[in-house]
């Protein structure tokens, strides 16, 4: 039986063999691997791209103080982006399951409709949740729009829920029982995060300060977007750094939400504020990526 990290190695190896760049996790808090610039920005524009990376994804409201066997504040996704999507993409995906030891002739696989939409990112796509013997192990999406922009090349996004998948492979009933590496359980590595961040997110995060931080990051992002407009040399403009400000805002929004600090009337407005930043950054990125701009540069 493979350990958690051995399964990860195999999946990374599998996509490495298919020409994907293997990236390390992004180092700013995100709620999902989709939000990393390696996905959100790279799917935009005319350039093909293939990338795979593990992304620890933080969802403050999902924290359960480490008491729930299946629910985590921070879970890990293996995110694969293939742009444009190859014709045999689903066969490639099924091959990745066989690569980690699932004999598909002995199991039941179903592709059940599940469309994806992220209002804070102005993004949506269509696809499936992939069910293995009744367990949702993967979210598969054909992106259609990102940052409110129609995509030139439609990418396939494959998101494996790693804890679930490995718990299935190892036959354990709680993610905390997963063997991370020989002799070390998931709980030993991660239980403390789950407990402490639940306490922080639900009980201790300073709401006023979080609001101030939100406003600061938002101001930084807006200022950068305005400067991009006026910039003479757009090719060296830090659009990537601008996008980090969007991620900060998004995470602060999630924290405030978990803290119960966002009222009904505020909620819609805040989502729109984050979306405006994401859409603005996406536009700047596409502008920076267009061949005309690249030639001129």
């Amino acid at each position: 039986m493979d350990t958690f990290q051995q399964t990860l190695f195999k999946l990374k190896r599998y996509w490495d063999e298919r020409g994907a760049i293997i990236q390390e996790p992004y180092d700013v808090e995100v709620g999902a691997g989709t939000m990393c610039p390696e996905t959100f920005l790279r799917v935009l524009g005319p350039n093909p791209y293939k990338v795979a990376y593990v992304q620890p994804s933080r969802r403050p409201a999902d924290g359960r103080y480490g008491e729930n066997p299946n629910r985590l504040y921070k879970h890990q996704q293996l995110q694969v982006i293939l742009k444009p999507s190859p014709d045999d993409i689903l066969d490639q995906y099924l091959g990745s399951l066989e690569a980690i030891g699932i004999d598909l002739t002995k199991h039941d696989i179903k592709f059940e409709e599940d469309n994806w939409e992220a209002p804070t990112l102005g993004a949506w796509g269509v696809g499936w949740q992939v069910m293995l013997d009744g367990l949702e192990i993967t979210q598969f999406t054909y992106f259609q729009q990102c940052g409110g922009i129609d995509l030139d090349l439609v990418p396939a996004e494959i998101t494996y829920g790693l804890e679930r998948l490995v718990a299935f492979l190892q036959g354990v009933e709680s993610v905390y029982g997963i063997e991370w590496t020989k002799g070390v359980k998931y709980a030993q590595v991660r239980l403390a995060d789950e407990l402490q961040f639940s306490v922080y997110n639900f009980e201790m995060a300073n709401v006023d300060r979080l609001w101030r931080l939100f406003a600061e990051y938002e101001a930084e992002c807006k200022e950068l977007l305005a400067k991009y407009e006026d910039s003479d040399d757009k090719s060296r403009f830090p659009v990537l750094a601008t996008y980090d400000q969007v991620l900060k805002c998004s995470h602060l929004f999630n924290l405030l939400d978990a803290r119960g600090a966002i009222s009904v009337t505020e909620r819609v407005g805040i989502i729109k504020r984050v979306r405006d930043l994401a859409v603005g950054t996406a536009k700047a990125w596409v502008d920076q990526q267009t061949p005309a701009r690249q030639e001129a540069a």
């Binding site: 409709e113 259609q144 009904v264 909620r267």
Partner: protein, 662 residues
């Protein structure tokens, strides 16, 4: 004559959402196949059209083209022939003119299909489409292969970069991914490769296998699974009986909605005289594969279900830390609608409305707690269980039975088929909740248009109607709408009336003109509308009724044409002429007396009996008399008849034979 060619079209796709497949099949049944009737079937991965007797060519067509007059001479004729691209010898003389009979040759149907099929396939309507390749073609999911055969030949075309051919694919894991087929062996080749093309056969296979494993029948789930599988096979799994402590509503929701499992029930032992069935610790799953010889699929599904049930138990326990009564204020954080504020505000309005509806303390308490399950973990996870969870929690937390039952039921009826809340308290809370939603949405102009109804207002309105009628609640529709209806951006009254009409027509089977006639007379309570409808439907087939309805229509027209103002003339019995007019009056008085205090049916029968005298009156008496006083008096008399006898239904709204002949 040849019997024509066999035809096969298979559009191979990635997995199409199950619920969209029947709609696509229906559209493909209208595919133009040059005289042949399409037979359509589908699985999640293929849309298939088969036909026999497709013509090889379309027939030649002849066309007669008129040429110049004979008098114009041969030169003109030669010029005409040249223009048409024929020799002069092809021209004939017909009367005073030259004439050319042109033959437009038919075309091979294969060529025509090669042109029409790509258009027809991409013209299929789907609820949501995507693009995925450079041509930008839109379809429900990517098209990956196409089989198109007419007789032995491939019909050559391309859709979204995929060329048609004769190679199909089998089941994703059990079949081959490249199978050459002919029209004749197509279905059997698919079957050898673990694809059952016929949805009827897949449905029957699921039905029989699940029944054999003791599954409780579930038509909706059966339909879903029929279109989510290419080779369905049922298996039975078990769960720890300890989970049966959780409410059956929670267990079945997890099994049905989250896992697409059938539940299994066992007979209750009949001790204490209690009859019925209860959930048994088993489930039936339908795989998309041929078997589970090592039991791995069963084991996997059991593990998933256990985790789900554990979640539910965890949610239940956590949720009990805070009582529903202590959660009312939390509703200020739950959005009802961006423009309409929070569920706390909605709750306050619904409580007031319940008071107005004379709901007792239990109904008011239920209204106050009705939405407090929304912030619970259980409802966040199992949204379908809103209301039900609230009811169960209220029960567990010691609320009176009248209160928890009302909370439990207050989203009912969820559809036209669903029952209304079982108790009066539940009906009042459900009514208030739906009325509030309707009034608020109409107030800010959120009115359903065409097929767009994002807030399910039609369902809410239908629920209001169903509760009022089937609960026999004696609220007058117009009282319920006061006073907010006037303020709104849309006409809520008209919207509700339309639902009333729809309900009595579609659900209760009354004729549309009967419904119109009864509602045109007055609205009142819906229970009263129903009573009048029954009476009207009962008296309608009797011989006097339709002619009388025709006469009422005539009366209404006469009054309208005369622009008669009932205030302008006081009816004077002395002015009536002896004979038909006086006889009608006597009969009018008789019927009036007979009808008063009677049931609607008896009253309608009595009214119908006036018909012979009405007929004689119109036959013998001129309403438009020369004497102005006599004329006004006659109009006043007719007006009295019309008003007196239209309180049950406005007969002039009944469609009679005369209307149809117009």
């Amino acid at each position: 004559m040849s019997a024509g060619l066999d035809f096969l079209l298979e559009i191979g796709t990635e997995e199409i959402p199950d619920w969209m497949i029947p709609g696509a099949v229906a559209q493909l049944q209208k595919l133009e196949l040059f005289g042949a009737v399409p037979h359509v079937d589908a699985t999640p991965r293929r849309l298939v059209v088969q036909a026999s007797g497709v013509a090889e060519r379309t027939p030649d067509q002849t066309q007669i083209v008129k040429g110049p007059p004979l008098t114009a001479g041969e030169k003109a004729a030669a010029g005409f022939a040249r223009k048409q691209g024929v020799e002069l010898s092809a021209m004939a003389k017909a009367g005073d003119y030259w004439e050319l009979t042109k033959v437009i040759p038919g075309r091979p149907v294969r060529d025509l299909l090669a042109e029409s099929l790509p258009v027809a396939v991409l013209a299929l309507q789907w609820p949501k489409t995507m693009y995925w390749e450079p041509t930008g073609a839109r379809f429900i999911r990517p098209i990956r292969w196409i089989v198109a055969l007419l007789g032995d030949e491939v019909i050559p075309f391309e859709i979204a970069g995929v060329k048609s051919g004769n190679i199909t694919r089998g089941h994703r894991r059990l079949g081959s991914s490249a199978i050459p087929v002919t029209v004749a062996n197509y279905e059997s080749e698919l079957r050898r490769n673990f694809v059952i093309l016929s949805s009827v056969e897949r449905r029957r296979k699921i039905e029989m296998e699940t029944a054999a494993l003791g599954a409780k029948p579930d038509a909706g789930l059966l339909e879903t699974l029929t279109f989510i599988t290419e080779y369905p096979t049922a298996i039975r799994g078990d769960f720890d009986p300890a989970y049966l402590e959780l409410p059956p509503e929670v267990l079945t929701t997890v099994m049905r909605h989250h896992q697409k499992y059938f539940s299994v029930e066992s007979e209750l032992s009949s001790e204490g005289g209690i009859q019925g069935r209860r959930l048994a610790p088993h489930f039936v799953a339908v795989m998309n594969t041929s078997g589970d010889p090592e039991g791995l699929v069963k084991k996997g599904n059991e593990r998933v279900l256990k985790a789900r049930f554990n979640d539910a138990r965890f949610f239940w326990n956590v949720d009990q830390h805070k009582k529903l009564a202590d959660r009312v204020e939390d509703l200020s954080h739950v959005t009802f609608h961006a423009k309409l504020g929070s569920y706390l505000e909605k709750t306050k309005r619904v409580v007031e409305l319940v008071k107005k509806l004379k709901g007792d303390e239990n109904a008011q308490r239920a209204a106050l707690l009705s939405k407090t399950d929304l912030p619970t973990d259980m409802v966040k996870e199992f949204t379908d269980l809103q209301g039900i969870v609230g009811g169960l929690y209220a029960q567990a937390q010691g609320e009176p039975e009248a209160v928890w039952r009302a909370i439990y039921d207050h989203y009912k009826p969820l559809s036209m088929e669903d029952s209304i809340p079982a108790t009066l308290d539940g009906q009042i809370v459900a009514l208030a909740d739906k009325l509030d939603t309707l009034q608020q949405c109409f107030r800010i102009g959120l009115v359903p248009t065409g097929s767009k109804d994002p807030f399910a207002l039609r369902r809410a309105a239908q629920g209001v109607v169903k509760i009022l009628v089937e609960g026999k609640l004696y609220y007058e529709l117009d009282d319920l709408l006061q006073p907010e209806s006037a303020a709104g951006g849309g006409d809520l009254r008209a919207f509700l009336i339309e639902r009333v009409q729809h309900y009595f027509r579609e659900v209760r089977g009354f004729q549309y003109d009967e419904v119109n006639a009864v509602l045109a007379s007055r609205t009142g309570t819906l229970a009263d509308v129903e009573a009048r409808l029954r009476a009207l439907a009962a008296v309608r087939p009797t011989e006097n009724f339709e002619p009388l309805a025709a006469s009422f229509k005539r009366i209404r027209n006469i009054l309208k044409q005369a622009a008669f103002d009932p205030e302008s003339w006081l009816f004077d019995v002395q002015l009536l002429e002896a004979g038909p007019e006086r006889n009608l009056y006597d009969d009018f008085v008789r019927v009036k007396n007979e009808a008063s205090g009677k049931t609607y049916a008896q009253a309608l029968e009595a009214i119908a009996s006036i018909r012979p005298n009405v007929d004689i009156f119109f036959d013998k008496v001129l309403v438009n008399a020369k004497d102005e006083n006599v004329r006004s008096n006659r109009l006043a008399f007719l007006h009295a008849i019309l008003t007196e006898f239209s309180t049950i239904a406005d007969f002039s709204a009944i469609v009679t034979a005369g209307d149809l002949n117009k």
